[in-house]
């Protein structure tokens, strides 16, 4: 019997998966609480390991005498047969066999596929020898309580098939969730137990880091308290003193902070990214503000086909106030002859520090049609 070395795609796939797990399985080590490892895990086999792809050699110019599939029970064998396209009577074709292996692998249920070829009076007899994924016998958790809620997803892997990508994803998701819950130094490492009996999870949440200071240096026209009140998440304990720090949420909140300055005409205000200083389990957050000059209203007009006069409550020379512009938009919409959308289009002149506004009125169907007819 001769082995057909068509395992390159398979081994490549394994290598990719194990590399991913190695990267996502993250870093060991815990400065504060070194985890006590389960004896099954002390000599843990790294999930990522070097694999050397074998070269593909093919038996050409042979007719396939038979195709067999071994290693699975009858139900699984029947399903696997559906994806094997190599048929008795065909010429032995390395591409087809390689594709078969890829398709078998893509089902995600096998940890190994080998193709054996033997010559017989009928031609080449092919045997796809498959090995289903092993079962994760135990999940050994160290560094945290086995009942910890955040480790639930990893714990539920116990007794299910070993799928390296899933393990890696859950380790990464668990770590990400801990970081978002304020455990900024959280590390989750997962390895296979050295005796193959399961998975070793080394969890280190680290300290719960909370905000001890939230400041907006550079802001003088709006109070620190008023700006802090515009940052969302207070009720959920996020991005406020005593709460946890969520960088992405705070970045989104720059819009709400900017609104406070637009409300007093400081149209050119710039808000930098938040700067943080970590000291132990405390973090200070500063959001630098660069206030701009006060802008006044320039031209204010309504572009509306009906030509109706609408009291806007806005006059040239007034300080630009965002809420008054919004109120004017609403007033136009209410006064419009028909159901309409109103868009305030602003033109900013930095030299004169003025903002001109043209309220564009778009009638909705069916009044749009009437509008078109009238414009003719």
């Amino acid at each position: 019997m001769r082995h057909l070395h068509a395992a390159r795609p398979l081994h490549f796939a394994i290598a990719v998966k194990r590399f991913a797990l190695g990267v996502l399985g993250i870093i060991t080590g815990c400065a504060h609480h070194p985890p006590t490892l389960d004896p099954h895990c002390t000599l843990a086999e790294p999930v990522a390991r070097e694999l050397v792809p074998a070269p593909i050699e093919l038996l050409h110019e042979h007719t396939i005498g038979s195709v067999a599939l071994t290693g699975a029970d009858p139900a699984l064998t029947a399903t696997l047969r559906h994806v094997v396209m190599t048929r008795p009577g065909d010429s032995l074709d390395g591409t087809t066999v390689a594709d078969d292996i890829r398709r078998l692998w893509a089902l995600g249920v096998l940890s190994d596929v080998r193709v054996d070829v033997a010559s017989s009076g009928r031609g080449a007899d092919l045997t796809f020898a498959v090995t289903p994924q092993p079962i994760i016998g135990r999940v050994y958790i160290s560094g945290a309580s086995p009942d910890a809620l955040e480790l639930r997803r990893l714990r539920m892997l116990e007794g299910t098939p070993y799928e390296p990508l899933r393990v890696a994803r859950m380790a990464a998701a668990t770590q990400t969730a801990l970081v978002y819950d304020g455990y900024l130094d959280a590390k989750i490492e997962v390895q296979r137990a050295h005796d193959g009996s399961g998975l070793c999870v080394m969890a280190n949440r680290g300290s719960h880091v909370v905000i001890d200071k939230l400041a907006f240096p550079g802001a003088t026209s709006v109070s620190q308290h008023a700006l802090a009140a515009r940052v969302r998440g207070e009720s959920a304990g996020i991005n406020h003193v005593g709460g946890i720090y969520d960088e992405s949420l705070l970045s989104d909140d720059k819009l709400y902070l900017m609104e406070a300055f637009h409300e007093i005409g400081r149209f050119g205000t710039h808000i930098d990214h938040a700067k943080t200083v970590r000291h132990g389990d405390r973090i200070s957050v500063e959001v630098p503000i660069h206030e701009g000059p006060i802008f006044h209203l320039g031209d204010v007009r309504v572009i509306e086909p009906g030509g109706t006069t609408i009291p806007l409550g806005l006059q040239r020379g007034d300080v630009f106030v965002r809420s008054r512009v919004a109120a004017a938009s609403e007033r136009i919409r209410e006064h419009a002859f028909a159901d309409a959308d109103v868009y305030p289009r602003t033109t900013i002149d930095k030299d004169t520090t003025t903002v001109s506004i043209a309220f564009l009125v778009n009638w909705r169907w069916p009044w749009q049609v009437l509008q078109l007819l009238r414009s003719r």
Partner: protein
């Protein structure tokens, strides 16, 4: 009903000096009254209340007890000690679902596809698996954090489904059922669906071939276990299948809502009726679209007009239920009022003629990948107006 659920996002909370109310029910202690935030228990309660606005529970207490007993058997096998709720939903679709707290939903349409208790256990086990593994909880939290797209891609969602399938195998086996029933359960659920779509679009579920292969590969490690076909069939022998006409029944331009006890004769000008089990849609010659749906009366606070979207509502209450008249289009508010005025009590002879279709267990069951027989396909009803 979907629009009602969307409106539900802008819920109003009825004031109460002692305890906040939401959708006609007291908010559990320690939970926020306005939205799905806080603990899993609070979020789960909120989601459950919204979910139960879409469908009633199926009116068969004995069947509900039976389904709960199967679910509890699985939960005990899992080692989870929380109090679980299993709801049989009055929906003809073959669906099941999981809340993020321990609440599992299974539609009567799914029960109609099963043929033994082990298959029912497989389906409940899949949903229990989602909850135990925290899939739904993580989904909600990631969405709230705006991380949904970056950390929870389609591949991850599909892997969650595969894990739930595998947990269904594990739980059924641990509970003493035949774990191979999960495979036949999946084949029964998939009946009538087209052979595998290689592209598979944005469906969060993996391809059937992959799901089945995974289950087979896992289940091959186990042997034996109960199927309990007779017990199961005895409990579903009177099961209502397909659309239940007691929710709505259209005849000669009149739609009878037997469960609300009212009827509505559609005025001239209707073009077609397009209906699912819980929503009747009608198009009118004047460009208006009408949706008629029935929901529990406690859902009334969720019914609000959306003037910007030209969507208007009128309601009629009866027997603890609410007929929701939703008209979309310019001038829809007047038309909704006109229809509201035309609603009359259903006549006894109209109600008496309405009989739901019951399951026929003598027919052979279809399993994927074979197509369903024509009369068993899930149907949408389209009735062209006789006046056209």
């Amino acid at each position: 009903m979907a629009s009602a659920a969307a409106v539900a996002l802008a819920l109003t909370v009825a004031g109460c000096t002692h305890q906040a109310m939401l959708l006609g029910e007291p908010v559990p202690k320690g939970c926020a009254a306005k939205a799905a935030i806080g603990s899993e228990r609070c979020m789960g309660w909120y989601i459950d209340r919204l979910k139960m606005l879409e469908h009633d529970e199926y009116d068969d207490p004995e069947l509900a007890r039976y389904v709960s007993s199967v679910g509890e058997r699985l939960v005990r096998a899992s080692g989870d000690h929380r109090a679980w709720t299993f709801r049989v939903i009055d929906d003809g679709d073959p669906q099941a679902g999981a809340n993020l707290s321990p609440i599992v939903y299974i539609a009567r349409g799914a029960l109609a596809r099963m043929r033994d208790e082990a298959e029912l256990a497989g389906m409940l086990g899949h949903e229990i698996g989602h909850i135990l593994a925290g899939h739904a909880r993580d989904l909600v939290i990631e969405r709230n954090r705006g991380l949904r797209d970056s950390t929870w891609d389609l591949r991850s969602q599909r892997d969650d489904e595969l894990q739930a399938d595998e947990l269904a195998v594990l739980l059924t086996q641990r509970a003493g059922y035949d774990p191979h029933a999960v495979e036949s359960m999946l084949r029964a659920l998939a009946a009538g669906e087209p052979p595998d779509d290689p592209d598979h679009g944005s469906d969060p579920h993996p391809r059937w071939t992959e799901r089945l292969a995974r289950i087979q590969a896992f289940a091959m490690h186990f042997r034996g276990g109960e199927r309990r076909a007779q017990e199961y069939l005895a409990h579903i022998e009177n099961l209502v299948v397909d659309v239940d006409p007691r929710n709505w029944y259209a005849t000669d331009g009149t739609i009878v809502f037997a469960r609300v006890g009212v009827a509505l004769h559609l005025p001239d000008g209707w073009l077609s009726t397009f209906a699912t089990s819980d929503d009747v849609g009608v198009n009118y010659t004047n460009g208006l679209a009408l949706h008629l749906s029935v929901m529990p009366a406690r859902g009334k606070p969720t019914i609000k007009p959306n003037v910007a979207a030209a969507s208007y509502f009128e309601t009629v209450e009866g027997n603890g239920r609410l007929l929701v008249i939703n008209v979309e289009g310019f001038g829809g508010d007047l038309f909704a009022k006109q229809l509201r005025a035309a609603v009359r009590p259903a006549r006894p002879d109209e109600v008496a003629m309405i009989r739901p279709r019951r399951i026929d267990l003598s027919k052979p069951r279809t399993l994927w990948p074979d197509p369903l027989p024509a009369d068993e396909e899930y149907r949408l009803f389209e009735v062209t107006s006789p006046r056209q």
